[in-house]
Symmetry: C2
Subunit: 415 residues, 2 copies
């Protein structure tokens, strides 16, 4: 039997609409003012009146590190490292000492993301001579277990460098044959001290496997800007326009406006995308990039791992941070950020059927909000998450329930 | 009959404890390892096993503007203003056009704060020749209606200036006789162009009514630093040490480290407190201030008003923002921020019985967290709020319920 759901009075692009979902696909979106009998709806159809709540396509977390999270473990105090190199070494020592399997933690974090309205995740996976392909094997399992709930795209990420950790190039090659989708990279100058050598491997693998590229670039200052220019050159020469992402790109956020201008123009020519989560003091100029035609996407980055104590599975707080760090204040800018954490990401990751249009999947987030801007300004997560027209129930808490109903209560004023 | 509540296995300062609350007061805190019969607990006592959840005293929102919120109204797109003066003029025109009463909005916002674990609020109230004492009358009503649930301290705030809006000095005097607790001020140079004249009124009223002072200072650069120095002088001369707060103090956040050093030393001598919510690019140096003995407190600032589209009633996201903007990464710093948004604020506002000690009120927040640092790093709001040993129930949503239980559901992986 056909599964038919009608979402009545959904607020989409500022107007009230009825959304029809048939067997998991959006089959009609009509103005709420239309007569109710304008469509043939089977008697068995389920109906839900959203009462004017905002409806959006799923969040896209275009930069996660599911393979290294401590999620579902007790709080781990952060041990700061002064340099990227120190952070890498510290993480390696933590990993060498780890005895518990990673799979349950990665699975728990991805599940929390889904419950918070994330429908697409691009996760980097460490590939180095310490962990080998262990992370790849774990994340391939996560992808299989969560198929149908989330589109999980995997990136082979050389966390310990490529030239700096001999053997990584071969491991990345093997990763690409083992189910990984995207070739990663990391600070060709800062970590490998060999920009050409690093990019030879990255672009070589991308060509060999017809795969996109996503390069972490923390390097700041003239070195960082020069690396961006070199990545642009390589992208154009190899015809990879539209298939290369630079993640973080701190150099764009910390350099002067004048120094950044020609780099932005070159990024636009090369069709390169910038991923940022709005880091303090190093957020690339989102509005300038967007105006120049450079796609901007966003993601959580690491969550509860050795790199940072910050991070949550929901994307709404990341949208707020990105907007706030970019000093955005008006609704048009907030709506841009809402697209950055959703449809911009889905285009770059390359997901079919993501959107609020007829023919798209019945994957929707419903918010207790009257405007899209409100979601971004106030970090509002969805009150209802649908996947294929079905409800994603909120997960159980990891804490035992508190039977507070037996206790005396104080009154509060009515709302 | 005595009302007796035992909270078992509460995590306090890293250790598990049993907390006994009798008739609304904390009467014992004992190690969880102690024998259960070490105290006489009446058979009628209620018991709640917190299973190791972190327990903290209530949040303190030491800088709110309850009188001007649009809370509970549909989303209001923000209209940016380039200068403080433009923002003031824009707000005045919005207010002049407003027809609905403010009381329900202010009450709804304060109630949401209480439900999110806030136990103490210092709210500024605009006093100028347009609104007169209308805001004061509204907030005095809010304070009465929420007595027992929140300690609400009121500040007479000259939002349109004092010299710049003749008549305000008299209105502030009248406000102090009408139930207001604290004398406010605003950018003596930037708004009034008359630092001495502005401070004459502020310190004069404080002396007349034996009231504390809380001055908004957005002025940056040398002017802002000079104003801070002048406020220090006035404070020492008038013996007001320990009773003066400077809110925002952007000058401390945007000036060079060298320029700020002598100002911090002088603030410590004058016993002046700094209030900050961690604004991007203008956050005062929290760790340096704390190390110098300058108390730091925090608050929400405006929430959904003409000044900013950002802001939420919960204090946990503000703690996260303050820590993140201050580039804090380790647990000791997160614990400092947890104190800033709680006990530091209660000391400055001057609330009795606020704390996790025998003899304090049974006002507690219970968090689904294993460490205090986790609350700050991940913006965790309390899962249970107690006031006087009784439960504060979560308020009803302003949205009609969604009867989703009738819909088909997808499975998600176990946690």
């Amino acid at each position: 039997m056909t599964e038919y759901l009608v979402l009545r009075n959904a607020r989409i692009d500022g107007a009230l609409r009825h959304v029809h979902i048939t067997d998991g696909m959006i089959t009609a979106i009509e103005p709420a003012s239309d007569l109710d009998d304008s469509r043939d709806v089977p008697a068995s159809a389920a109906t839900l009146d959203l009462a004017g709540r905002v409806v959006r396509p799923p969040f896209v977390n275009a930069h996660a590190h599911l393979d290294k999270t401590f999620w579902s473990m007790p709080w781990q105090p952060h041990l700061p490292g002064a340099t990227i190199r120190q952070c890498i070494d510290r993480e390696r020592s933590i990993r060498a000492a780890a005895t518990e399997p990673q799979l349950p933690r990665s699975l728990a974090l991805a599940t929390r993301m889904i419950e918070a309205g994330v429908g697409v995740i691009r996760s980097h996976i460490d590939v180095d001579t310490l962990v080998g392909l262990g992370g790849v094997e774990t994340l391939v399992q996560v992808r299989e277990k969560l198929a149908g709930l989330v589109d999980l795209q995997l990136v082979a990420f050389p966390q310990s460098g490529i030239r700096a950790d001999p053997g990584v190039a071969d491991l990345m090659d093997e990763a690409m044959r083992s189910g990984v989708d995207v070739v990663g990279g990391l600070d060709p100058h800062g970590i490998d001290g060999d920009v050409d050598g690093h990019l030879d491997v990255v672009f070589g693998l991308a060509e060999k496997y017809h795969a996109p590229i996503d390069i972490h670039l923390h390097d700041e200052g003239p070195d960082g800007l020069a690396e961006i220019a070199q990545i642009c050159e390589r992208t154009i020469v190899s015809g990879m326009q539209g298939n290369v992402t630079i993640s973080h790109a701190y150099a764009l956020g910390s350099a002067t406006s004048d120094a950044v201008a020609p780099v932005i123009a070159r990024l636009a020519e090369a069709g390169i995308c910038i991923m940022t989560d709005g880091p303090v003091g190093m957020t690339p100029p989102v509005l300038r990039l967007h105006a120049a035609g450079v796609p901007v996407i966003s993601g959580s980055d690491g969550i509860r791992d050795a790199w940072s104590p910050y991070g949550v599975p929901a994307m709404a707080p990341i949208a707020t941070q990105l907007a706030y760090q970019s000093r955005m204040y008006d609704d048009a800018d907030f709506e841009l950020v809402a697209d950055i954490v959703s449809i911009h990401g889905s285009r770059v990751v390359g997901v079919d059927g993501h959107g609020l249009e007829v023919g798209c999947r019945g994957d929707l987030n419903v918010f207790d909000a009257t405007a899209v801007a409100e979601i971004v300004a106030e970090s509002i997560s969805p009150t209802l998450v649908l996947r294929g027209g079905r409800v994603v129930p909120p997960g159980p808490s990891s804490w035992p329930p508190l039977p507070v109903t037996d206790l005396a209560a104080v009154g509060v004023a009515p709302h």
